[in-house]
Structures are given as structure tokens and as C-alpha cells.
């Protein structure tokens, strides 16, 4: 099933992204304390959780034949992800006792972690396939 490979690859990127977010949170925890570390983790999760929901919803139904259907699902899922991550970010900042700068570091760090994870995966693919 061709969709299964895409699904697996997307979840692998998310797995690496989560590891990088947790690494960043541990670094801030060691440098600035518990509150900062937790804030960074929450900021990272505000981007990671909507991405997980997006991948789970879009790639679970991905098949080779239904490219147009995949595209529609993809764009709708992406809009949902954008709105959900913004709402989560605001809820965290507004209702939880967090450090704003650390939440921002976590949030932006999660996005950069996605880039790093993607580039690592792409780099490995280039090495494997001639």
C-alpha cells in the first residue's frame, strides 16, 4: 500500500521533531530552571500536537490514486493546524503560569526542529537512493 510508506515517513519526522523539542526543553531546564523548561516544552507541544493531528488525519487516508482528494484533505488539515496551534499558544500564554520568552523559544524551536528533522530525513534518502 503506497500510502503506508508516506504515513511512516511523516510519523518519523514527527518523532524526531519531538525528540528535538524535548532536548531543547531539557537544555532550558538546566540553564534557567523548571518553569522555563516546562514553558519551552509547552510551547513546543503547542506546535507539535496540531501537526500530529494533521498527519494522523491526512496521511492515514493517503493512497496513490486519490491525489486530488489528498490535496483537498491536506490544505483543509493545514488550515486546521494553523488555527489550532495559534489557539493552543494563546491558551498556554493566557491561562498557565509560564515564562513568555521560553514559550516563544519552544514554539519557534519546534518549527526549526521540523526543518532539521526533514532535512536529516531528506539527506538520508539522498544518500540511500543514487
Amino acid at each position: 500500500m503506497p500510502g503506508l510508506t508516506a504515513n511512516k515517513e511523516a510519523f518519523r519526522i514527527l518523532y524526531w521533531q519531538l525528540l528535538l523539542i524535548m532536548g531543547l526543553a531539557v537544555v532550558l531546564f538546566l540553564l534557567q530552571g523548571t518553569r522555563s523548561g516546562l514553558s519551552t516544552l509547552l510551547g513546543g507541544l503547542a506546535y507539535w500536537l496540531p501537526t500530529l493531528a494533521f498527519v494522523w488525519r491526512v496521511f492515514a487516508r493517503a493512497t496513490a490514486r486519490a491525489a486530488k482528494q489528498f490535496l483537498v484533505l491536506f490544505i483543509a488539515g493545514e488550515m486546521f493546524k494553523l488555527v489550532l496551534s495559534a489557539i493552543l499558544f494563546i491558551c498556554i500564554v493566557k491561562y498557565l503560569p509560564v515564562n513568555l520568552l521560553s514559550v516563544l523559544i519552544g514554539f519557534i524551536g519546534a518549527i526549526i526542529a521540523f526543518w532539521i528533522a526533514s532535512l536529516l530525513l531528506l539527506g538520508r534518502h539522498e544518500e540511500v537512493s543514487p
Binding site: A6, A10, T51, F59, E78, A86, F89, I90, S118
Partner: protein, 101 residues
């Protein structure tokens, strides 16, 4: 009275900034996804057997396209809905010694 006027100005400029943040990020994302989706369909129509690979590549590029949009939307909504607007807090912090002193 003067402080109230300055706070009002900050609030109005904040509203303009939020509009720009949301509007420009939406515009950029819309253009990006339009191009991305078009190229994806083109690629799948040309070589359907590459569809799974193209899906993953599209997911990766979409992450790059929406990164700045997510940041600006989050910042815009934060400025709009946060109980403590940092810009107004800065004005009030400067005004505090003047009113008490």
C-alpha cells in the same frame, strides 16, 4: 489624560499590526500552498508511481511554507487577546514613576 491618549494610540497601532500580521501571513501561505498543490498534482499526473514520495516531500515543504505564518498568526492573536499586552505594559511602566513622583 496624556497617558490614556498614548495607551489609546498603542492599542490602535497594535490593531493595525495584528491586521498586517494576519493578512500578510495568510496571503503568503495561500500563494505558497497554491503553487505547492499545483506542482503536486502536476507531478502525480506525470508520474503516478511517485505519489507516496511526493506526498512526503509536499508535507516537508508545507512545513517550511507555514512556519512563518504560524509564528505571525500566534503573535498577532497574542497581541489581540493576551490579558497583558506587553506594549501597553511598557507604556504603563514608563508612566508609573511620572504619575507617582
Amino acid at each position: 489624560m496624556e497617558i490614556a491618549s498614548i495607551v489609546g494610540q498603542v492599542q490602535s497601532f497594535t490593531a493595525v499590526a495584528v491586521g498586517l500580521l494576519l493578512g500578510l501571513s495568510s496571503l503568503g501561505t495561500a500563494i505558497g500552498f497554491g503553487v505547492l498543490g499545483g506542482k503536486f498534482l502536476e507531478g502525480v499526473a506525470r508520474q503516478p508511481e511517485l505519489s507516496p514520495m511526493l506526498m512526503v516531500r509536499m508535507f516537508i515543504v508545507a512545513g517550511l511554507v507555514d512556519a512563518f505564518a504560524v509564528i505571525s498568526i500566534a503573535m498577532g492573536l497574542f497581541l489581540l487577546f493576551a490579558s497583558k499586552n506587553p506594549l501597553i505594559n511598557a507604556v504603563l511602566a514608563v508612566a508609573q514613576p511620572a504619575t507617582t513622583g
